[in-house]
């Protein structure tokens, strides 16, 4: 589904990703861990087409197509969803209106007819239940004045409504309380399926107890320096990243 080869990317003239390789098949859940500033969010933004991040080398193929050729909104319409590490506030724009506009843009791209306000309400009601979202949040402006946890939950709610093929979650667990973590994880798990893939960026093993990954990768110095099964997360939790730095140094990623 997603094939990243030798990806190099820089921002503000500084090279962040330095030859990253990653392959994700449909039906899989991958977790990426790694020290602060190692480039995890950069990877997520590059995959979603953020302009500031310049790809200097490498290829990314998504569902058989050249992902790097597509505009950000086209990538979204093709089924890529990013739950932002820092969700953005849009004052005065209703959450529901925003989400319906998004959904209809995606539906139009897929040749589906627009959902009117009523149909949309029906759809959201179900997802709200799933994520135990408070209805009042929907009536407010997009993320405006939301608590950190509410923002994260709203991201997953949007994901549930937009029904992506590849979901990228950038530290969705940070800022969530224990109950919310479970609810959000349930939301993500309900999306798991043989046609879909999930890429989870996290610092904590705890999330991976709820969203059990098929693969865990360690990103350091702009590359994947180690990959393994879910046990790798435990190992990291026990040992910290010091040894990863050594590894990165050895592989010349620094």
């Amino acid at each position: 589904m997603l094939e990243i080869k030798n990806l190099h990317a820089r921002v503000e003239g500084k090279e962040i990703l330095k030859g990253l390789n990653l392959s994700i098949q449909a039906g899989e859940v991958h977790a990426i861990m790694g020290p602060n500033g190692s480039g995890k969010s950069t990877l997520a933004q590059v995959l979603c087409g953020r302009e500031e991040y310049e790809v200097t080398a490498g290829t990314v193929t998504y569902a058989g197509k050249d992902l790097l050729e597509m505009d950000p909104e086209v990538r979204a319409r093709e089924g890529i969803f990013l739950a932002f590490q820092y969700p953005v506030e849009i004052p005065g724009v209703g959450n529901t209106y925003f989400l319906r506009t998004a959904l209809n843009a995606i539906r139009a791209h897929r040749g589906l007819e627009e959902l009117d306000a009523m149909d949309f309400l029906e759809l959201t009601r179900e997802k709200m239940k799933l994520l135990k979202m408070d209805e009042s949040l929907l009536r407010r402006s997009v993320n405006e004045g939301f608590s950190g946890g509410e923002k994260k939950r709203n991201e997953i709610f949007q994901m549930a409504v937009l029904d992506p093929k590849l979901a990228i979650l950038d530290e969705t667990d940070s800022g969530l309380d224990i109950d919310a973590l479970r609810i959000v994880s349930d939301g993500v798990n309900s999306l798991r399926g043989k046609d879909r893939a999930v890429l989870v960026v996290t610092h904590y093993q705890r999330l991976l107890e709820y969203i059990v990954p098929d693969f865990v990768h360690v990103l350091a110095g702009g590359r994947i320096v180690r990959s393994g099964g879910k046990e790798l997360a435990l190992e990291l939790e026990a040992k910290g990243y010091a040894w990863v730095d050594d590894l990165a140094a050895k592989t010349g990623a620094r």
């Binding site: 979603c48 087409g49 953020r50 302009e51 500031e52 505009d71 950000p72 909104e73 990538r75 979204a76 319409r77 969803f81 990013l82 932002f84 969700p87 953005v88 849009i90 004052p91 005065g92 724009v93 925003f98 989400l99 506009t101 998004a102 959904l103 843009a105 995606i106 791209h109 402006s141 949007q158 937009l162």
Partner: protein
């Protein structure tokens, strides 16, 4: 430069949607301005002597005045002698109903999406259409007449209700008020007059569509609204204009008078031609709008959505004379391309316990320059006066500018004056967030800007709010993206 910015700039180059010129045979004065022209206008309109005298006083005053230099706008000097000060479309015959309206005028209105048809009337909107300075169609009069409401063209009011006009004309904006108001007083062509008798609540939104049409004709509208004790009226003014090569001067005057417990709600959507990408050919909109809360507990609200014109110079103001009177100003001003706007309000507190609210949203895109200029003046007599002002600016792109000039003069220590200001950028992060949800940049910007203006749209009458939102969308599409 990022793609977003580039895209914004491409969109900034798209054409003004409503740039077409209709072909009405104009009955015009020769170009130039002198006493003879003033007399010509007055004669053309069959005016009484007192009005001619008033015009002449204004004209003589004007010759001694100079155009104000303080607004933060820049334009080449205007050659007042090159303009035509009177032009009227020739109605083919006297109009009994809308069906008889000049088909040319009708189709012009249709292109603008202004419906003068029965549906609109059923929707409760009486329309007094102004083309080339002369009213050509007035509707719904009978219904209003039953209530004693007068709603007609200014010329007609001069003929039918000379005492009312004489009593209130210039009572809020004196003929000597300022350069452009004085010019208007000398040469005003037509406009609207509205009188709501005591205790009457006007059952529909009164609305006027302005349109500047004959080439090279400065347009000088004059609007006068008087609301007697305990009455209420909501008045809508909306406009757009055809594409032009020369700059067109527009210097309107609007006067509002609210007596005891009366309320006037005045809403404007302004979308005159802003000029091409270089700023050529846009309208100069130098307007004087002022309301007087003459009676106790009266209230005047100005709500404006300004998206057009090359230059806007406009400060709808309220003189709060009656005790406990209330003044409000809600404004959205959008400048893009090379548009310049210097707009804001004046709240003059004279009565006790008077209260004013100012909410201004300025949006700058392209190379637009947007200035908020506001004066809150609390006179010595204004015990316990209160003002709250909020001025928010939004910038789209790198080449535009936003400026805020709040002036506060307080002569009474019991006053409370609060001022809040903010400047935000339509962030790349907001646009990217929308993009990532499948929404393209043009729609994203439109959405973000509309969100920013929501508070103001909430103040507009429902129907108008929808129009305003569309207009902002169109202006952004044609100017920002």
């Amino acid at each position: 430069m990022t793609t977003d910015t580039k895209q914004l700039e491409t969109l900034a180059k798209s054409e003004y949607k409503w740039g077409f010129v209709s072909d009405l045979e104009a009955d015009a004065a020769p170009p130039g301005l002198n006493e003879e022209i003033v007399r010509f206008i007055s004669l053309k309109k069959n005016e009484p002597q007192w009005l001619l005298d008033w015009r002449l006083k204004a004209y003589r005053k004007w010759t001694t005045m100079e155009a104000p230099a303080w607004p933060n706008v820049h334009y080449p000097p205007i050659d007042y002698q090159a303009s035509v000060y009177y032009s009227a479309p020739k109605p083919k015959k006297k109009l009994g109903s809308l069906d008889e309206l000049d088909p040319e005028i009708k189709s012009t209105f249709d292109k603008l999406g202004i419906s003068l048809d029965e549906q609109k009337m059923l929707a409760g909107v009486a329309v007094d259409a102004v083309i080339d300075s002369v009213s050509v169609a007035t509707t719904f009069k009978t219904k209003l007449k039953e209530l004693g409401i007068i709603f007609c063209s200014f010329s007609e009011a001069v003929k039918e209700h000379p005492d009312l006009v004489r009593k209130y004309l210039g009572s809020v904006v004196p003929y000597s008020d300022n350069y452009f108001a004085t010019l208007n007083s000398a040469v005003f062509s037509d406009g609207s007059f509205c009188y709501i008798p005591e205790g009457v609540r006007c059952p529909m939104e009164l609305s006027t569509y302005f349109r500047i049409n004959a080439a090279n004709t400065g347009q000088f509208e004059r609007t006068l609204i008087v609301a007697e004790k305990g009455s209420y009226v909501s008045y809508l003014e909306g406009c757009t204009a055809p594409m032009r090569d020369e700059n067109q001067l527009h210097a309107a005057v609007v006067e509002l008078v609210a007596m005891e417990d009366a309320q006037i709600k005045y809403s404007t959507v302004q979308n005159w031609y802003p000029g091409d990408a270089e700023g050529r050919g846009g309208i100069y909109n130098f307007v004087t709008k002022r309301g007087k809360c003459a009676g106790a507990r009266s209230k005047i609200s100005w709500t404006q959505v300004e998206t057009g014109s090359a230059i806007t110079w406009k400060y709808p103001s309220v003189v709060l004379q009656g005790d406990y009177s209330v003044g409000e100003f809600y404004s959205v001003a959008l400048t893009s391309k090379r548009q310049q706007a210097d707009t804001g309000t004046k709240m003059i507190h004279i009565g006790k316990n008077t209260k004013s609210t100012i909410v201004s949203k300025g949006i700058s895109a392209g190379r637009g320059q947007n200035s908020y200029r506001g004066l809150v003046k609390i006179a010595k007599s204004a015990e316990n006066a209160r003002n709250f002002s909020q001025c928010d600016s939004m910038l789209i792109g790198q080449q535009c500018g936003a400026h805020t000039f709040p002036y506060i003069e307080v002569a009474n220590p019991t006053a409370t004056v609060e001022h809040e200001a903010s400047t935000s950028k339509v962030g790349e992060d907001q646009i990217f967030y929308c993009n990532q949800r499948g929404i393209d940049t043009e729609n994203a910007v439109s959405m973000i800007v509309n969100g920013f203006c929501k508070e103001i749209f909430n103040e507009l009458p429902m129907e108008f709010a929808v129009e305003a939102q569309k207009l902002l969308g169109i202006s952004l599409e044609g100017s920002v993206g």
